[in-house]
Amino acid sequence: MSTSHGESGVKSNRFVGIGLGLLVVLAAGSFVVAPGGARPPPVDFDDTVKVGLSLEERQSIGERVIPRVQVSYSQYPYVVGYRGLGQAAEAVDDPLIHQQFGYPRVVYVEVAPADVEVDDAGLLVGDRTNTWLPAEDVAYVVGSNATIADTTVTVPFEREADASAFADEYGGQVVEWSDRTRFEAPAGNGTTARSRIDAHHDRADTTVAERHRLLERETSVVVGANEPTVEAAIEAAPPNTTVLLPPGTYEGPIVVDKSVTLRGDNATIAGTGNGSVLTVRASDAAITGLSITGVGGEQEKENVSVEGWDSHTVEAYGYADSGIVVDDADRVLVFRTDIATRTAGITVRNSEETVVDTVSVSGAETWEDGFMGVTTIRSPIVLQNSTFVDGRDGVYMHRSPGITVRENRFVGGRYGGHFMYTSDGLFADNCATGQQYAGVVVMTSPTGTAISGNTVIESGQGIVPSGSDSYVGENTVVGTRQGISTNARNSLYTRNTVVGNDVGFRSASIIPTSRVVGNDIVDNHRPVNVGTGPLRIWSHDGAGNYWGAEVDTDREFVPSDSVDGRLHRDPAARTLAASPVVRGIRELRTTAPGMRPATVVDAHPRSTPVNETRLERGRALANGTAPTDELGCPA
């Protein structure tokens, strides 16, 4: 007779056997299925992480057709959207991209309408189709007349017949996705911006030299002696001469509507406290040797109305009461002039090749009450050798591509330099200290910004770039809450000295395509603060950054790691860092970066600083032993 135990034993044996069988099937099945499943379908382009074309370019292109691409990578959680086939094709084959994002699982291309045309500006005209096809199924026209921002556009078509027809009319050839190396892509990795710096300086030097010739004009009228008032003197003076203002105070407001040089000798122009004081409306005019006071207090004017997509901005920022206004006048020089203002110092609108040199603007004590030191509206000026104390922003640049801001001192206020919709700007060799928000900020994602050789001390943040193809190099950032942000994409951050900040670098770009190499990042409380996004690798071709003497250069350095991030201030961390478990785990992780958020790895940390001298100076600035001038900038 079988016992109950025996029966339940047999039943449980069967249970175990079935369970085991299921597990075996599951295990075997896992090796048979192709993981990753089917190709993901295309998504709404607005929901992708977008790369390519600055905001300004997009605004000016407006609703015209921009060929768009979206890519899902195997190890990147977001769908990447590219504006431009050349850029997408480059990215898809880039080994650095593969290392960080995995391989592209699927590439969808939005085809152009079959009847798309090219207008006189080279832009594609037509309706957006919102038809997304796998890249292999699309026909492409390369080498046609279609351009965007000086780059030939590759135009995608659903049907080869349409592509041929387009090529017949606008030139070019029909090719396939496998020929994508022929898609032209804008060069964009920050080196372009860097290589343009010297040429940029040369052009600025030329412009400055030309404007300085305006100071050589013969004096034709002396105010007081020849004419009673400044206005009369200007009226009387022949063009291309100098009007001299002997020592004294003169009443404003004054309008310069002739191509003359207004030279002051210890002369002050005092406004009435309403409106701007000195307005220049004539090209080839020059202002030198004056002090300006009595500026009005209005930032925005009611009766001003402009056109264009940026009308709101221009109305809000371009018409404030200023010490000096340069309006629609080219090739103007403002030289050796002091301005005391509670609103704007100098506002330059729609002016080409204007130079503001050796000017001093002193603004309101609290930045909320004050306004900009220099405001440029569509005026790529050269601003150099000037000093801005307090007020709101030192220089506010709106749609002034190619502007030059160099060798100035910015003290206090909200921002030192503030780029808005301005590409290809150069911000070089300036000093910014004591800004509440940041020494220099770039907004609206322009391209080609170069921020080089500046010193930022004890501002809220140091350098906050954005956009793409930017170069941030040779800067010294000391004593801020956050030294340098790497928001700009496809950019180069190199040879910066970042010392004694709360956070050295902030890595915020959700799509890490920039290079951060050759920086000296030392004595910051946290070397790196990492935001959302996949693993970033901050070394290139065997060269990384210098993180301080405590770092073991035989292995990778992970500044975002809780252990490595402490090495410089906690000796015990070195013991832990040498632990085989810690090392093993870290090494293992970098082999499969994947969807791992918030990590930065320097594969080849340096054993010596990149710039020893600048590092020493940075350290001296950090602990207050460096010689500085009366404003706090390095002497």
């Binding site: 993981p35 977001y78 478990v581 293992l588 499969a592 791992r596 958020p597």
Partner: protein
């Protein structure tokens, strides 16, 4: 009674022995806590199944041999030694070896499987990278890859278990078993790789590394994980020769089981055998008198 029934009885007894020993329950729970702790401390859970597997790979290379050795090294010693009684029953050595192995292997599947399943659940319930602004997808990441990883881990554990059983069969006393078990553990965790390293030569020499690594059990395991789990997600390959790795692991399994069987069969000769050799050695070695 049929051989199948005998086999089931033996395997079942091993399984019950494990199940009824409290400390193995604690081991399973402890392992689940450790693995969960490892992945919770890092950012892997958010990343998905593959980053989680990457994070667990190194700890498991140490933990799995530990669990397997603990599970196997006393299978035939002490209280578990009823071989002299079993010999009187119609139970062949092969049946005994395979039966004990299968029983303990099933236990190992549970002891390793429950913690791994726990981690898989953690991954499943942890929201991935989410964004209110951008659409997100999970990349090439799927539970199937984690099941592969778990399978390979269990296979690795089962191979080491067979070696641990060999230790239990060879040793007659618990002390000997412990010493031998330690040797096996070190061999699996470090020895294989050291052997590979010693064969490497300088950096300029060419060596079929992938094949060499198949000889080391933990490297074979690691290679298979890289090739079939991690590599799939990143479309990389060439990490290892998967066929050779499987052969390597199968080879070690065979070594373990064969050694176990032979050692069990030889136990009846053992005391005489050992004593004879001890005497032979004593005659050979110099004594204090000479």
């Amino acid at each position: 009674m049929s051989r199948a029934a005998a086999f089931v009885a033996i395997a079942r007894r091993e399984l019950d022995t494990i199940v009824r020993t409290r400390s193995y329950l604690a081991l399973t729970v402890g392992l689940a806590v450790i693995l969960s702790g490892i992945v919770t401390g890092s950012d892997a859970l958010q990343g998905g199944y593959v980053p989680t597997a990457v994070d667990l790979l190194l700890p498991l290379e140490l933990l799995v041999p530990t669990v397997s050795v603990v599970l196997g090294y006393r299978a035939f010693t002490g209280e578990n030694d009823d071989l002299s009684i079993l010999r009187t029953y119609p139970v062949s050595t092969v049946l005994l070896t395979v039966g004990v192995f299968v029983g303990r292997a099933i236990a190992l599947v549970v002891i390793l499987g429950v913690p791994l399943a726990t981690v898989a659940v953690l991954v499943a319930v942890t929201p991935g990278v989410e964004s209110a602004v951008f659409v997100t997808h999970s990349g090439v990441d799927s539970p199937a890859l984690f099941v592969r990883f778990a399978t390979l881990t269990v296979v690795f554990g089962v191979v080491v278990l067979s070696l641990a059983l060999a230790v239990a069969a060879l040793a007659r006393r618990s002390r000997t078993a412990l010493a031998l078990a330690l040797l096996v553990f070190l061999g699996v965790v470090a020895g294989g790789d050291l052997l590979v390293l010693s064969r490497l030569g300088g950096p300029g020499t060419t060596v079929d590394l992938a094949s060499l690594m198949a000889v080391s059990p933990n490297s074979a395991y690691r290679g298979l994980v890289f090739e079939t789990v991690i590599g799939v997600a990143t479309a990389d390959s060439g990490f290892a020769n998967p066929a050779l790795n499987v052969v390597g692991l199968a080879g070690w399994l065979a070594v373990g089981l064969l050694t176990t069987g032979i050692a069990l069969a030889a136990r009846s000769w053992n005391p005489q055998f050992v004593a004879t050799w001890k005497a032979w050695l004593r005659n050979r070695l110099p004594t204090t008198e000479n």
